[in-house]
């Protein structure tokens, strides 16, 4: 079928392009290109006119080829040298995905320095910690907003000597008459002059780098305590990138949209490392608000997104379809059902009856193709999702449309790949087989350990944490509990340290329960409690869009999130969801005893600004346990209603207190 045919051709083209990949091609630099600076020189030579990076600005897409990128990086590196950048110096990078910031990463590496990308929505004191910890002397920031953050904490970071900004908007006054704040273009101009005086310096500076050198610091937004600086070498990223390219037959003609935070290991691998290795072009969206439009314009072939984005996309699709005309809606749901039945099988090349193939073909022409086209996913050949468990029906929805979405399990400490679902063996609730070159062991307490070329060097200036995570033979403790199922796929059930025991000794995996609850569109977030307790209870956060839309159609008036969350009908709706989860749990012997007995709906959304979640929306259990202790006890004592006052930070930083009386509901099949 169509699926096989494209697979075959992609192998042929991959072989052609992979000439770039295998180490032993007699490339001009003699030894294989094992660092990004060397890869840059190779690409600038062998893919000179091939697009390397693209950005939408002023309404159209500006493309730069690999040779142009080389000259941009060269000038920037020269400029940094002129400002006194030495080998081993750290360069903090903060801002949205922009070509200038990706070039800063390479420029620092060309000079033997280490780039430190940071989250653009991090608040000032988070940046201050990273600046002090990494002892960075240079900072490249995107615009006035980021520069102001750094200036705000300037007196705490005496080490910072030079601040470079890209978008000049409102910054003229800052840089005139100050030798510490410079415009990107001015630095590049200095670079040109510097390199004229030192010809050949840039090329041999690039040559000096070796595979084992430290390539980048990535600060993990750890769920507990201060973020740790993961040091990753060139080998970590280049080898992992190349194994991913070979496994998935990526070519230089892939199209990738770089819209995830640059400080996140996923973006660093897919939008930077693999782009340098395979030579494909990375596109930066115009602004945060236009990502959806830009996704549709670019039509990426290689797409990566955390489950939350796939989830939001599905919810918006369903909500928008609710308002469609009856005929269109019925047609939509009919063909969706067809896809749900046979879509994944067709994608995996399994046998399907002729009648279903015709129906699916009809569906493809009328619903699936236009839907993928409107979402911008119609050219996607490979889509990864990772970071947390994805809802089974969300996962199968995309596969049934013919989008080759696959789960992978990875960590910053592993330069992403630990396990990947190979083509043809894709299941909704597993994370796949060990990636090429990765060995995996399961300890007796269920914790997963792995060893691979991608394993990080160390946690910067934190030898003790490094020893705890990585032992002498190179085995890394993931901190996640899981087991291999009969098909040889790894299944992650929870964080190792969160896996608790119920009083009756049974396993209690809170994350596993919470993910099952979150797969319902109405539930945005859930937190389960049961460690050394006799039964399980849960907090629930409703999804304002989905429930709000449902309330509108049921014409239930509500003025605020809090009022909607406390509504009687909403409680019974969540109750039905929990009933269904409990039904699935009883089916699996290992988890039968952790069915949920009591729950309450929180009066406010759990938010990263209140410290209740990490930047990538992972629940911070210890913080919640302390903050809502009153509520947790009320849940277990079975009080009818419980009053609570919680401190909240508003968008513009002001603090306030919200108080509410939350109803505690007993799960009963009759409700």
């Amino acid at each position: 079928m169509a699926r096989h045919w494209s697979l075959v051709t992609s192998i042929k083209t991959a072989v052609g392009a992979s000439g770039l990949l295998n180490e032993d091609t007699p490339s001009s630099e003699g030894a294989a290109a094992d660092t990004f600076p060397k890869l840059l020189l190779r690409n600038a030579e062998q893919l000179a006119s091939h697009p390397a990076i693209r950005e939408k600005e002023f309404g159209i897409w500006h493309t730069r080829t690999w040779s142009e990128v080389k000259s941009e990086v060269e000038q920037l590196a020269g400029g940094l040298l002129a400002l006194g950048f030495e080998r081993g110096d750290k360069l903090l990078i903060i801002g949205d995905n922009r070509p200038q910031l990706y070039w800063s990463i390479t420029a620092a590496q060309c000079l033997g320095g280490i780039p430190v990308p940071t989250y653009q929505d991090a608040v000032a004191d988070e940046i201050q910690y990273v600046l002090e910890h990494a002892e960075a002397r240079f900072v490249i920031a995107e615009d006035q907003e980021q520069i102001d953050k750094v200036l705000e904490i300037q007196e705490h970071c005496p080490l910072v000597q030079h601040l470079i900004y890209d978008d000049p908007r409102g910054l003229e006054k800052y840089s005139t008459g100050s030798d510490r704040i410079h415009a990107f273009t001015v630095v590049q101009e200095k670079g040109r002059q510097y390199l004229d005086k030192h010809p050949g310096f840039f090329i041999n500076s690039c040559q000096q780098g070796k595979g084992v050198d430290a390539a980048v610091f990535l600060y993990t937004s750890g769920t507990t305590g201060r973020p740790k600086g993961v040091v990753l070498s060139y080998d970590n990223f280049v080898k992992t990138a190349r194994s991913g390219i070979e496994l998935e037959h990526l070519t230089a003609d892939e199209e990738v949209l770089a819209y995830l935070p640059m400080a996140w290991v996923g973006d660093h691998l897919f939008s930077y490392a693999q782009s340098y290795c395979a030579g494909f072009c990375v596109s930066c969206p115009e602004s945060a608000q236009t990502v959806q439009q830009d996704l549709r314009e670019i039509g990426p072939t290689y797409y990566f997104a955390p489950p939350r984005i796939f989830e939001n996309m599905l919810t918006t699709v369903m909500i928008r379809m609710e308002d469609a005309g009856i005929i269109k809606r019925q047609m939509f749901h009919y063909f969706l059902a067809v896809a749900r039945r046979v879509g994944s099988d067709i994608l995996d090349g399994k046998p399907v009856s002729f009648l279903n193939r015709v129906r699916y073909w009809l569906g493809e022409w009328t619903i699936y193709a236009p839907l993928k086209n409107t979402l911008g996913l119609s050219r996607v050949r490979l889509a990864y999702t990772a970071g947390e468990a994805i809802g089974p029906d969300i996962f199968s929805f995309y596969r049934s449309l013919g989008i080759n979405i696959k789960q992978l399990y990875g960590q910053t400490e592993a330069a992403v790949f630990v396990t990947i679902q190979p083509d043809g063996e894709v299941f909704p609730d597993t994370v796949g087989k060990p990636a090429p070159g990765v060995e995996i062991e399961i300890q007796d307490n269920g914790e997963v350990l792995y060893r691979s070329p991608g394993v990080f060097l160390e946690y910067y200036k934190n030898a003790q944490a490094t020893r705890e995570t990585k032992d002498e033979e190179g085995w890394v403790h993931t901190g996640d509990a899981g087991y291999f199922d009969q098909v040889g796929h790894l299944r992650i059930i929870d964080r190792a340290k969160d896996v608790g025991k119920l009083t009756n000794g049974e396993l209690f995996a809170p994350k596993f329960l919470e993910n099952k609850l979150k797969f319902f569109p109405q539930i945005k977030e859930a937190v389960c409690f049961g460690d050394n307790r006799s039964f399980v209870t849960a907090f629930v956060n409703i999804d304002l869009d989905a429930v709000g839309n449902w309330a509108e159609r049921e014409n239930i008036p509500y003025a605020s999130y809090q009022e909607l969350a406390g509504h009687e009908k909403v409680y019974s709706m969540v109750n039905d969801c929990i009933l269904q989860v409990n039904k699935d749990l009883t089916a699996d012997p290992k988890l039968a005893s952790s069915t949920i007995h009591r729950f309450l709906i929180l009066h406010k959304e759990l938010d990263a600004d209140d410290g209740e979640m990490t930047r990538t929306r992972k629940v911070r259990r210890r913080v919640i346990a302390e903050k809502y202790a009153v509520l947790i006890d009320a849940l277990f004592e079975g009080q009818g209603v419980c009053h609570v006052d919680t401190e909240v930070t508003f968008e513009d930083g002001r603090k306030g207190v919200i108080s509410a009386d939350l109803e505690i509901r007993e799960i009963s099949s009759a409700a």
Partner: protein
Amino acid sequence: MTTRTTPCAGSEAAETEVILDLDDISLSFGGVQALESISFDIRRHEIRAIIGPNGAGKSSMLNVINGFYHPQKGTITYEGVVVKAMKPYHAATRGIARTFQNIALFKGMSTLDNIMTGRVNHMHAGLLAQALYIGKNRREEIRNREFVETIIDFLEIQAIRNTPVGRLPYGLQKRVELGRALAAEPKLLLLDEPMAGMNLEEKQDMSRFMLDINEQYGTTIALIEHDMAVVMELSSRIVVLDYGRKLADGKPDEIRHNKDVIEAYLGVAN
């Protein structure tokens, strides 16, 4: 907008040069006396606020400046030249642009077209070139499109580039209108209550835009605004009108403590 030489705002000499001087202006509609012998000036690169209770004649004053109303008495000198009965489009070609109290956007066009219309006086392709859309006209359309895109980028309205303006929320329509006024590369920008009906966040954005316009492009701004906090913080000098007469004129803190002004606003404390 890199295309324009941006005179640095700091130097004192440029500060004092007067761009517009209104001397003894009187305006009446039939019997109604809208303005009565008002004189004040606006210096280059300053943010000149015109405040006063409703019906004080603020909007009429703006309409006099941009030639929509012709005063019965008094002289207007713009950039050193005394201006006789100036037609509105003369004012536009000489670098005076304005926004309106209740938005005057072209409903039948998208955001981009509305702002491109502001470029009308900067495009000179002949009719034939436009008919065949070749050579001069194509180059000119692209050059001006690039300029307009810098404005769209400046006002952060990339996401609504192609939406018809009729469908935009109030705050965004105000921004598009400001974009259209900027497209004419004005020397003097008249803003008629740019922040009316805006929430706190939108007001912060609009003030940021106004400051950037004034600093980055050196555009002199004449501002009518009721929000005293904004006026006091942004403006270099303020003129206060009341019932068509000039009540006071000076720096923000002078005005803040001026007895007549307080009376006019809060009523006489007898």
